[in-house]
Subunit: 390 residues, 2 copies
């Protein structure tokens, strides 16, 4: 994907807005950047737009033209309930070679993760997984007064499969499900196909395993594989996928679970079943838009490799990533560095305890990565400091 393509897409959205004479909403310039649960700092639109946004593992290119067209078409049904929905369930089922009964839609894979928590942590009270990982599952567990058995990563940042098996078996009566983000967020490290096999062979067969494959499309390592075939085998595996990353639809809120019918049936009552027409039509187009996916993947991996090579050259170790983000070891506490980046209008990832000397950087556009490198060199003018032992 070249920059012109990106500009033309932005131009596309912009020109729609222009065509209808959009002039901004309300007299106030202060808008509330809010994502549901936790109010964030308020930015005006102009402030927000001016940031290099490398903090949330977003796809900086947004939906493809075809997806924008499909979403615009869906406005036709804005006021309806039982409207033709672009055949989204069938499209997902066909894509994975499963039946519609094996698919559950969610408002982002975030809702899928919540549904799994609500379903399997109400009776049995613990989820087993590594730390750091995508924290949503653990936060919800705590919200519904369940608990998490959080296991440390190995020294090479891989997930400790024998420890997960052991933790699951030793607490079997209390464990609702096993959580595995693959590739893992925030490290970008995969669990191999062989390790997943080992996990499934090592735990009781009726233990649900939630495999969060939000970053699936960015993986190159041939030892990785999706866990969907385990669903087809009838294993108690739930694969979570999202349109937020490879398809650039984070704010549209669409994700789904692929799982055996018995698990989907248990999960369904805990979902809202409330997906917007815009998301359905967009998703039905996006899942077939493999050319766009390949473009996003190629430019993202190229920019990630370029940036990590530059950081390594400056003496900063990067954890080898298989995703659209990476972690760099700073050799000092990350929070003050995050603040320095923000002063330079570059948003980078938050601290991920206990990895408090690592900075997570999402891969943005070429321009954003350049701004990141300029800021990085300003913040670390002398290269990497000696380890503090902190």
């Amino acid at each position: 994907m070249d920059t012109n393509k990106t500009l033309s897409r932005r131009g596309f959205v912009g020109s729609l807005a222009a065509a209808i004479g959009y002039l901004g909403l309300g007299p106030k310039s202060v808008l509330w950047a809010q994502t549901g649960r936790r109010p964030r700092r308020r930015y005006t639109e102009a402030e927000y737009d001016a940031f290099a946004k490398l903090s949330s593992n977003e796809n900086p290119y947004g939906p493809s033209d075809a997806v924008l067209e499909a979403m615009n078409h869906a406005f036709k049904y804005a006021n309806r309930y039982g409207y033709p929905d672009g055949n989204i369930l069938q499209a997902i089922a066909e894509h994975h070679g499963v039946e519609p009964e094996n698919v559950l839609l969610g408002a982002g894979s975030g809702e899928i993760l919540n549904i799994v928590g609500s379903t399997f942590l109400r009776v049995r009270k613990k989820v087993v997984g590594v730390e750091p990982s995508y924290g949503s599952v653990y936060r919800q567990a705590s919200g519904i007064k369940a608990d998490a058995i959080k296991l440390p990563l190995l020294s090479d940042y891989r997930q400790d499969i024998p420890a997960i098996i052991d933790g699951t078996k030793k607490n079997y009566r209390d464990v609702g499900f096993v959580y595995m983000c693959n590739p893992n967020n925030p490290t970008g490290v995969i669990v191999t196909k062989k390790e997943i096999d080992t996990l499934l062979d090592g735990i009781p067969e009726d233990m649900p395993v939630l495999v969060d494959e939000a970053y699936h499309h960015f993986v190159e390592d041939p030892d990785y594989a999706t866990a969907v075939p385990h669903v087809l085998e009838g294993r108690q595996v739930i694969v979570a996928r999202t349109f937020s990353k490879i398809s650039g639809m984070a704010a549209i809120r669409l994700g789904y679970a692929i799982a055996p019918k018995n698990l989907i049936d248990q999960m369904r009552p805990n979902g809202t079943g409330s997906i917007s027409a815009i998301a359905k039509w967009g998703g039905a187009t996006a899942i077939k838009d493999t050319a766009e996916q390949e473009k996003v993947r190629a430019v993202t991996l190229e920019l990630r490799k370029k940036t990590t090579a530059e950081l390594e050259k400056l003496g900063f170790d990067c954890i080898p990533s298989e995703t659209n983000f990476f972690m760099v070891h700073l050799g000092r506490q990350v929070q003050p560095v995050i603040d320095e980046f923000r002063k330079r209008t570059v948003l980078v990832g938050r601290p991920f305890p206990p990895m408090l000397e690592h900075l997570r950087v999402s891969v943005g556009t070429a321009d954003e990565m350049e701004r990141f490198m300029v800021a990085f060199k300003e913040i670390f003018p002398d290269g990497k400091p000696a380890p503090t032992g902190a």
Copy 2:
């Protein structure tokens, strides 16, 4: 609202689609009309579009131009998480004179109803309300293995407040909350302000009362009032509102609860917190678009009165409605009549047990109401049959 206005609005959406060369998605003409939980009959887009849609209490005019513009603007943030969101929470709070901490967003008021169920039926297991009413709360109760104490309507279709008080007090230890749809769906009948006062005075003060005001904007009766002031008084009242009806945003999925902070705090962990940027921007504009609301209200009430007057003239009693739908007494079983309407490409409401001789008709456009009356006269060529005693 005149027809030109409506046509121009449709034209607006259509011209956007035309401007971007939209040609339809996928080679298949069969699309799946699916609304989350229960797959409905599949219609092609052409089939669906051809129906007079008087079955789901939809606003046939769709979002206003201003709301469409705001939603289109939100595509700019399609790929983001912590984006400026049009200040939706603040807009709702200001509209009702409450604090943002008193507001919880949901993917439609449907999600709000689900959240209330998940929050208050997990420990105490029963919801108290009338039947027929909007069934979502009762269905969810059954889905999460809770139960409902469903009380019959009075002979004039009003809700039986003394029975609700009695049912709540007699089962106090087991009751999670009281549900009240006001005006009620499917009857269109209100609960008066005085009756709500009586209810709140009659039940224990810590009993949550969910007042579903989905059809609030259509009420004319001066004895009706919103329950929001009871929230301000600190009563354990949860008011549910939606953008689906008066604002024509059903498929966009946006609703909210207004409640005391202690209830919102309990409810929040049971929500997805996952609302699309499109919904947020659209809602922030819609709630201020009072001119549009007044137009929708005026044309809807006019067409409802015209249609019910015609039916009464033919000898069919209509329940006096305060909403954008009404019930007509057929004097015979409703299901075969529904089927007859469908043959004539008019979709009307499903049966609402135990009112199986009543047909619920949503108020559509002038054209749709004309098609309804033509079909009605074909199905009932001799006027109202004598009561069968069924």
